[in-house]
Subunit: 341 residues, 2 copies
């Protein structure tokens, strides 16, 4: 059993912690939280050991009656791997402490690529993370792009990718973010950072990306065009995506799901927190013209990186040498069945 700690219990941290709990080959030693709020109480209710960053924070927790196991240092003493899910940029500040305790380290996409030995996606470069000290799981949009690129690339080498990223304005809980009524160029200057970020995992790909932010909280949507070197029929592409892990095909005509609200509504009836860690590809939007495949896909920003955070732990230890086997274990434990019906 690999002993795992999670530093940060926000949107990503809590999902990774709960995902670790479900793995047969991992144990969750505890999580680190800064504030004794409702989420700390929920963690305790689930029997999760809560730690605080410093002694001062420990006292805050004690004052509000939330039992804590100690400080981050106490946690680091008893884990093999720490998953850093602190707010973007803070991982860099914690890195030295992690080094000091000689624990393996998983960072998130909000950190600069240089923070870790390798930027990671399970479908693209699992092997490169084997036995490393540290890895960075790239962000949600980048993970979505990598899933489609590496899935298709395994069948027909991808020569060029263009993507228009239509970002959700804010996560449901981020009440201070916007826009509320605008389509914002994010950034105004092309290309967006996503192209560069994809290349941290697969440097060989030729890719351009642009992005806007729009007033919605549920999911991102991408329009992706992939030029492939070996022509595929539309039916080939559908068969490939149906067989691929972590890609969910949705047919709008058959299901009545025509956008992100429909995906989330269907998921609310089936899944905790309506999480959709699969990349959702809209089958109706799939178009093949000569050597170009284009499609709309949707990315659930809160959960898509969770399975990758689990796989990367197996790679770093290394607990499993074969990416396919790790992916299977993770997806079985998380009940990712690629459908919402």
């Amino acid at each position: 059993m690999v002993r795992v700690g999670v530093n940060g219990y926000g949107t990503i941290g809590k999902r990774v912690a709960l995902a670790v709990l479900k793995q047969e080959d991992m144990s969750l030693v505890g999580i680190v939280k800064k504030t004794p709020d409702y989420a700390a109480l929920q963690a305790r209710r689930l029997g999760i050991n809560v730690y605080a960053p410093t002694e001062d924070d420990v006292r805050k927790f004690e004052d509000s009656g939330v039992k804590v196991g100690g400080t981050l240092r106490d946690l680091l003493e008893s884990v093999d791997v720490i998953v850093d899910a602190t707010p973007g940029g803070m991982g860099e500040q914690y890195r030295k402490l992690y080094d000091q305790f000689k624990v393996k380290q998983v960072f998130q996409g909000g950190e600069k690529p240089e923070i870790a030995e390798v930027s990671f996606n399970s479908l693209c470069n699992y092997g490169e993370a084997l036995g490393r000290r540290s890895a960075r799981v790239v962000s949600c949009n980048t993970t979505g792009l990598l899933r489609i690129i590496c899935t298709l690339n395994a069948h027909s080498p991808v020569e060029k990718v263009r993507a228009v990223v239509i970002r959700r304005a804010a996560d449901p809980k981020e009440v201070k973010r916007g826009p509320v009524n605008s389509i914002e160029l994010d950034p105004p200057k092309a290309p967006s950072h996503h192209a560069k970020d994809v290349k941290t995992v697969i440097p060989w790909v030729k890719i351009t990306t642009v992005a806007v932010a729009v007033p919605t909280t549920l999911m991102h949507v991408h329009h992706v065009t992939l030029k492939v070197s070996k022509k595929l029929a539309k039916s080939d592409v559908i068969a490939i995506l149906e067989a691929a892990p972590r890609v969910m095909l949705i047919n709008a005509e058959r299901t009545g799901i025509t956008g992100t609200a429909g995906i989330v509504e269907a998921s609310r009836d089936l899944r905790p927190r309506y999480d959709v860690p699969e990349l959702v590809v809209f089958e109706d939007s799939l178009n093949v013209e000569d050597d170009e495949i284009s499609l709309f896909q949707a990315v659930h920003q809160e959960s898509i990186v969770v399975p990758e955070n689990i796989d990367v732990i197996r790679a770093l230890i290394p607990l499993e040498l074969d990416p396919t086997k790790s992916i299977e274990k993770t997806d079985r434990a998380l009940e990712l069945n690629k459908k919402l019906w």
Copy 2:
């Protein structure tokens, strides 16, 4: 003086009517409105003659104390051109009546292309509308696409166009439309109708379009990629767009305008109803790679087709044979100066 009537006084109708009032070579005989609401009172306040569709409607107006000049038939007897700005699909029902009165006819993009002898855009095919009985001014998104295509095509033949259309959910007054919190594939099946609609004006172009609707009311945004046959430098493209009519270049870095809210906020300080009939191209987003030009552009759905509605009247009569001269007259009268500062 060409005598113009406008049937319908909604989003497009009122703007076209007010634009006609500003032209030196046109007179507005009157507008047709179905309901005696605040907009009817505003029209009266501006000294515009209001007509009602039928005798029954006339009585409704009289009952609520709004003076009317008669019915649609009365109006049709005294105009050379009728601009139909009734809700999409209703123009088809009115067409026979217009024919009966032997008036020239302008329809909007909500009607099927077959309704008129020609689908129209000032920058693309003004000449084809000269002396015709009827023309259809294509819709806002199609007009935006045609503006950029025909502007660039005049300098370097456009071989292929791809566009991702990010549509506003509803106009500001359409309180019953959505989505409120979703990115909706609109339509789920690629391509969207915009490609076909562009071809009603320039059948020679190779174009694919896809579209989503997002929860905002201000403007549409397009990401457009144009493959051109003669390589242009980025500076060439900027010079072409700066010199072109009805295209406004906005530099985000210099102006602080980074999206549709910024455009509208700047326009609110300068222009009635914050109308922006120019196609807005975001200069920072402009990218030239080999023979491909890509950019983000914004379309103010409520006003972009207004100048085209004026030009098409001059073409139908025909009052002006040279598109450049008509465009100049229209834009001077409407004070389209291509900037918001």
